[in-house]
């Protein structure tokens, strides 16, 4: 038995959408980072679904890159969050708005 491609895409889109909503709305930087991971995974699911549907390895290759990138990103992102927390004693993303024009 096989899962229809449309279901896979719908799952990817849903994951991305939840991630985006969380990224924009959450007030805690750690959760914002988590939401970012969720968006990554939405994209990853979509890529893998496409590879399966078209019987083509190429999207999977991109998927691998996404995994690597997510790992790298999360390490850098977490380091930044920790540094920011040390500076501000808060995890509110709006607290770091020095670049306001």
């Amino acid at each position: 038995m096989s899962v229809p491609a449309a279901h896979v895409y719908a799952l990817g889109a849903a994951l991305f959408a939840f991630g985006l909503a969380g990224f924009i709305m959450r007030r805690n930087l750690l959760v914002v980072l988590l939401s970012l991971e969720l968006m990554f995974n939405g994209a990853l699911v979509t890529l893998v679904g496409a590879a399966r549907e078209h019987r083509d390895p190429e999207p999977s290759t991109f998927g691998l890159f996404v995994v690597f990138l997510a790992a790298v990103e999360v390490s850098v992102g977490l380091a930044l969050v920790i540094a920011l927390f040390r500076l501000r004693q808060t995890l509110d993303p709006d607290a770091a708005a020095e670049l306001r024009g």
């Binding site: 990224f23 924009i24 993303p93 709006d94 708005a97 670049l99 306001r100 024009g101």
Partner: protein, 641 residues
């Protein structure tokens, strides 16, 4: 021999440079010592010497010229190519033929005398060296104008003398008035010069050659189409009208008297203003090929002679009266040329250079003695105080009035004789005789107002020093014998006309009994003018013209004609309105555009700045919204694929 030719222009030019450098040194020294002045003996010596040497070179060349057979009397000096651009080829070539030789002699000879006079006149002026630099530059430019073998080279000299005229009219620029007068002279001359340039362009388009020999030859042989000849002659005459202060461009010359008096003598009486007369003579074949234009030349000259004669009569300023007289005499020269008597016009140019320079120098001596007074109402009775100046002025006025044995009679006679023979004879002749009558009238009016009657001045005027008197005496002698250059009645010879015959061809303007008739008539007219002047003004001062001064015509003439007011009301006002309009356009449209762009950029920045709120999640909304919008657009526009 022709190797000496460039010296004629080069010597005064070198003198101008030397004087300019000496003036620069004075300016540098003046930083330490405000009273620093030029070494007047050195500057005056260099300036006068350079012109005097140029005069002797000119004499030498003229003697050599006379030793050649008449048809070969021309020296040319090629100084290489000046312009070589496609079809336009202009060699830097100087030409000395009888006409330019005569002009060169007058310019350098009278010029040298006036330089000498200026040393005394400009003594202790802080701009002494500057004055002589300008004056030498003027002589150089004038000689280039005269000696240039083609129209563009003459044009360079033409503009050069215009520049020097501007600089010297405004020599005392600190006073304001002279600076304005200089500007007026320059601007009015530009109008004429534009015509001159267009004439050159037209000739170049039609002929491709611009040297006088080719232009005259083309006009003679009919190579130049008749309407092109008419157009070119008319345009070139525009230049002559501007430079020689003929109606309707005569308005600048009376104002030009704001300059130092020797400048008025040299530039605005003897030489520069005669450039137009010279140009018409130089291109006489072209003008003969355009009879209509020649008639215009005669009529403009005659009309100017008459109207400026009235103007001269009504002036209360000594120098302005002489200026109007100059305009009137220039008109007479054009009248002669317009009638085809080119040699007569040139002959009058020569004698006029003598006696009008003399009159201005004598007037300068009077003004000098009275401490700068120029108002005729504040003179009178000066014959006893300034006997030498009086005799010189009398010689000049006598010559100007056209009474024998002085020069004016003979040369004016030539013109009147020519006018009665040429085209438009009755009109031109009548204008000539009327102008002659006025000339005698205003000449003796000046003599009587300045030198006879009650003394209306203050102080005790003293005779001018020898340095001023000697050049005046030399010019007085020339005014006396100069008539012999134009016509020697006993032998019925005309030295100038014979000398110029290789240029103008031997056009015989009357002779014998007929000529004697003209002479008697002009003598009678001048004598009546003299008697009338004697009756009106002798020993009576300005009271003599009280009845005349009430006439509206007199008041118009005194105001310098209506043209000045007309120009002020039309051209000057239009220019001013245009200037204001341009100013408004610049202020609001050009500046508005420039400032507006700046202000718009800054306002856009102010507004867009608000988007940059530093909050990461707000940016993310923007990115997401944009991505969503792009997706939507791709979905809607791209259709299904």
């Amino acid at each position: 021999m022709s190797a000496l030719l460039p010296l004629l222009v080069g010597l005064p030019l070198a003198g101008a440079l030397a004087c300019g450098i000496l003036h620069a040194r004075v300016l540098v020294r003046r930083h330490r010592d405000p009273e620093a002045a030029a070494n007047e003996a050195l500057v005056g010596g260099i300036a006068t010497g350079s012109v005097a040497v140029a005069f002797f070179v000119a004499v030498l060349l003229t003697i050599r010229l006379l030793s050649l057979p008449p048809e070969h009397r021309r020296f040319e000096a090629d100084l290489g190519t000046w312009i070589d651009a496609g079809r336009l080829k202009v060699p830097a070539r100087l030409l000395l033929d009888p006409l330019s030789a005569l002009m060169t002699l007058v310019v350098s000879g009278v010029g040298a005398l006036i330089h000498l006079y200026s040393i005394g006149y400009m003594r202790r002026d802080p701009g002494f060296a500057r004055y002589f630099a300008y004056l030498n530059l003027f002589v150089a430019a004038m000689l280039l104008l005269v000696l240039g073998a083609n129209l563009p080279l003459t044009f360079v000299g033409w503009e050069g003398v215009g520049l020097c005229s501007y600089l010297l009219i405004g020599f005392w620029y600190e006073k304001g008035g002279p600076a304005d007068a200089g500007l007026k002279a320059f601007v009015v001359n530009r109008i004429g010069d534009a015509g001159f340039l267009l004439g050159i362009f037209l000739l170049h388009r039609e002929l491709g050659a611009l040297d006088y020999a080719s232009v005259n030859e083309a006009a003679r042989s009919g190579l130049l189409p008749a309407n092109a000849a008419t157009g070119a002659a008319l345009l070139l005459f525009c230049g002559a009208v501007g430079k020689s202060a003929q109606i309707p461009l005569q308005v600048w010359l009376p104002d030009a008297m704001a300059g130092p008096t020797p400048v008025s003598a040299l530039i605005h009486a003897a030489t520069m203003v005669t450039a137009g007369v010279y140009l018409v003579g130089r291109l006489h074949v072209l003008f003969l090929a355009a009879p209509a234009v020649l008639l215009v030349v005669g009529l403009v000259g005659g009309g100017t002679a008459l109207l400026a004669g009235f103007g001269a009569l009504a002036q209360r300023d000594l120098k302005k009266a002489l200026a109007y007289s100059t305009i009137s005499q220039l008109g007479l020269m054009f009248l002669g040329e317009g009638a085809g008597a080119f040699d007569a016009g040139i002959a009058h140019l020569v004698t006029h250079a003598f006696f009008k320079a003399l009159l201005f120098l004598a007037a300068g001596s009077v003004i000098h003695a009275l401490g700068g007074e120029q108002d005729l109402a504040r003179m009178g009775g000066l014959a006893r105080r300034l006997p030498a100046t009086f005799l010189c002025f009398l010689a000049g006025a006598w010559a100007l009035s056209g009474l024998p044995p002085f020069a004016g009679f003979f040369s004016k006679d030539e013109i009147l004789g020519g006018a009665l023979h040429g085209a438009g004879a009755p009109v031109l002749g009548a204008l000539g005789f009327a102008a002659s009558f006025l000339t005698a009238l205003y000449s003796y009016r000046l003599v009587y107002l300045v030198f006879s009657g009650r003394e209306n001045f203050e102080g005790r005027p003293h005779e001018s020093p020898a340095l001023l008197l000697h050049p005046m005496r030399a010019l007085a002698a020339l005014s006396f014998v100069g008539g012999a250059l134009a016509w020697i009645p006993i032998w019925n010879r005309r030295p100038i006309a014979e000398f110029l015959a290789p240029v103008f061809g031997g056009n015989e303007a009357g002779g014998g009994a007929e000529h004697v008739l003209v002479a008697v008539l002009s003598l009678a007219v001048a004598f009546v003018g003299f008697l009338l002047a004697r009756r009106l003004w002798m020993d009576r001062g300005l009271a003599g013209e009280r009845a005349l001064a009430r006439l509206p015509l007199w008041r118009v003439a005194a105001a310098g004609g209506v043209l000045d007011a007309f120009y002020r009301g039309t051209v000057v006002r239009a220019a001013r309105v245009l200037a204001i309009a341009c100013g408004v356009f610049d202020l609001f449209v050009v500046d508005g555009a420039v400032n507006g762009i700046g202000r718009a950029a800054s306002a856009a920045g102010e507004t867009l700045r608000l988007l940059q709120n530093g909050k990461v999640q707000a940016y993310a909304i923007g990115v997401a919204a944009a991505a969503g919008a792009l997706l939507l657009a791709a979905f809607l526009l791209g259709g299904t694929r």
